[in-house]
Symmetry: C2
């Protein structure tokens, strides 16, 4: 018997009921029933994004929405500031480079998040910047940036803010309209508790002005085409009707739980996981840890591959390795979506058993005890 | 009780067992198990395409593969010949226009397929053409082009042939290598019996030479990036693991049935449907009808919307309307994928009942009789 629990920061776990929802007979997307479902998804996405904008639903991975956002908002004759301190920030820059779009980079050390002051200084030095790209939750380093502060600085400067919310939206506090974020993208396989295959982009009125002002070299991921179709609750290309069906279901669950409660759950899981790591003598990779996913440094004497593979083979706990140059340095443990305290305390236990197997010295039980204490709602003292 | 049968030429029907296959717990895509599944899918796709090339698996609709094929094969400094006589041929031209790529068009009347001689003449007139785009099965008009003949003409001319096989591959005879086709694209929601969300592109060695010779303005649908990842049975962006799981299942079914038997089934269904239409006094829209989908002209006195809506509401038979300017002129009945004789004779019966309701004059039973006769394996005379 092997029960698999995905603790990867995407794809995250999909509930059996969401999977069954998607196993029902599927209908064509050009029907009134589907259009109603599509409309409901759009409205529920607005709720998750905390925006009056109507998020677009793209058939593709998160990178599809990233490409669409850049081609729409970063014009050939304008300059973009791209903030990066991890693999996903680097991917944004890669897209800018791929399309030969003028930009300046603002680079921080891995593990650090971006703050308002730093972005403000960069904008002062580069007054011609028209758009700022930043990653709210950098999944590769598990670090948090100050989305609210950065968005405000962008508004003050008159630049658009493009926020990669792929592992923040629906997990940690995110208020698109209150904060004044202009474009925010995410994907289906993180907080939205679905398989990969849908990407989302919400766009502010002032970002639409820029997007509508030019003909971007975009076809498949052309946000203008998506906006035009959305007026009729439709999409320009055949949508993944199976995932849209699942999406309505999981978004309804999020609405029923209440977005603030979802945010609070991730925060609890992250806090308790950090406490458990500390109790085991393990350190957190990020200087500015985010609550979506925790990156734990691999202690001296412990072999990365063996550690992760044993956790999966013996206990069904699949944690993520570090990405790129961080492979071998850290493991990552997801707190997004369909995951709770019980799952997570189990993951901590599996970490303990497998660390002990490799001769790592610590008090067996210290991790799970710290985890349990961190989340106890009443004291037994 | 309402049993829905999708007779739309995509999305087509998905079997309950394929839906359940996709309802099993999902695994992460960066595991040896997934990589094996991915490899098996690639091999089985080669079988369906009848090619030694390794088809790429993209997360997106068919249009994603169309964009990738054009950006890779149609260079800024070369000329493309685009053949169009329907909505999908027009979409290919739209992509060329969107990216400002030089091209000449070869347009035929709707309902007509392209032949080798016509393409040969166009190439003679335009000796600088480096790539030819054509739609094998034009879904909007239900017309067939001569893929084998066109591919040969392209080879003789030294131009690449780009074939839209979205509603041909896996349905009607298609032999990529034998015919010498250079790029062929399709999608998951047609013959492959899955929901929409995956696109496929198979590329010949000589097409790869062109694609690798330049840096196309492509990111999300960059075939080069997909090729690079494929060597490790991986993809550049997070794949839809749910659909890949379903894909292995449905491709195994196709392999078990035998591709020639699948082709023969579509041919039988199309032949019998045309016979039924004729017996009902109805005419076929296409001058060169294809066996993937049959387009039937709406007779005088019959209201399109009412006809289709009644078929669906009373009998669960969802046929497609005409696309664009063909709306109101024809209905389309699918023969791709998970559909058989029993389903289709039921669709003919529903056509009869609903035609009779609108006062259309014909002999009740003539359609189903012709259908049954067309497919009888022995005579009762």
């Amino acid at each position: 018997m092997m029960k698999l629990r995905l603790f990867t920061p995407g794809p995250t776990m999909v509930s059996p009921d969401a999977l069954l929802e998607m196993a029902y007979p599927l209908d064509h997307h050009r029907t009134s029933g589907f259009k109603e479902m599509f409309k409901e998804c759009t409205e529920l996405l607005s709720y998750v994004y905390q925006t009056k904008a109507q998020p677009l639903i793209l058939t593709g991975s998160g990178s599809a929405a990233m490409e669409g956002a850049i081609l729409g908002c970063c014009k050939k004759d304008a300059k973009t500031l791209v903030c990066h301190s991890g693999k996903f920030g680097e991917r944004w820059q890669k897209i800018l480079k791929r399309f030969g779009l003028p930009h300046v980079e603002y680079k921080l050390e891995y593990g650090h998040g971006f703050r308002a002051e730093g972005v403000h200084d960069m904008l002062k030095k580069n007054p011609d910047v028209k758009a700022v790209i930043f990653v709210h939750s950098e999944t590769s380093t598990c670090a948090l940036s100050d989305a609210q502060g950065i968005a405000k600085v962008c508004r003050d400067h008159g630049a658009l803010s493009l926020c990669d919310g792929i592992t923040s939206i629906g997990t940690i506090p995110f208020k698109m309209d209150d904060w004044g974020i202009d474009v925010a993208v995410t994907g289906s396989q993180k907080a939205l508790m679905l398989p990969p295959g849908l990407a989302f982009a919400a766009v502010s009125d002032r970002a639409w002005e820029v997007i509508e002002s030019h003909d971007a070299p975009a076809f498949y991921n052309d946000l203008k085409a998506y906006r035009k179709s959305q007026k009729d609750n439709d999409v320009p290309w055949t949508p993944n009707n199976q995932l849209v069906k699942g999406l309505r279901y999981t978004l309804q669950q999020i609405k029923a739980e209440g977005i603030e409660n979802v945010w609070a759950r991730s925060a609890r899981l992250a806090k308790a996981t950090r406490a458990a790591a500390k109790a085991l003598g393990l350190s957190i990779y990020a200087a500015d840890p985010v609550d979506s996913v925790t990156g734990i440094n691999i202690p001296a004497g412990v072999e990365d591959d063996k550690w992760r593979k044993t956790m999966r083979a013996k206990y069904g706990i699949h944690v993520a390795a570090g990405q790129g140059e961080l492979k071998g340095k850290m493991i990552r443990l997801n707190h997004m979506g369909y995951v709770d305290e019980v799952d997570t305390v189990g993951a901590i236990a599996a970490m303990e058993w497998t660390l002990a197997e490799q001769g790592y010295k610590f008090d067996l039980g210290a991790g799970v005890t710290a985890f349990v204490k961190a989340l106890a709602t009443s004291s037994n003292a």
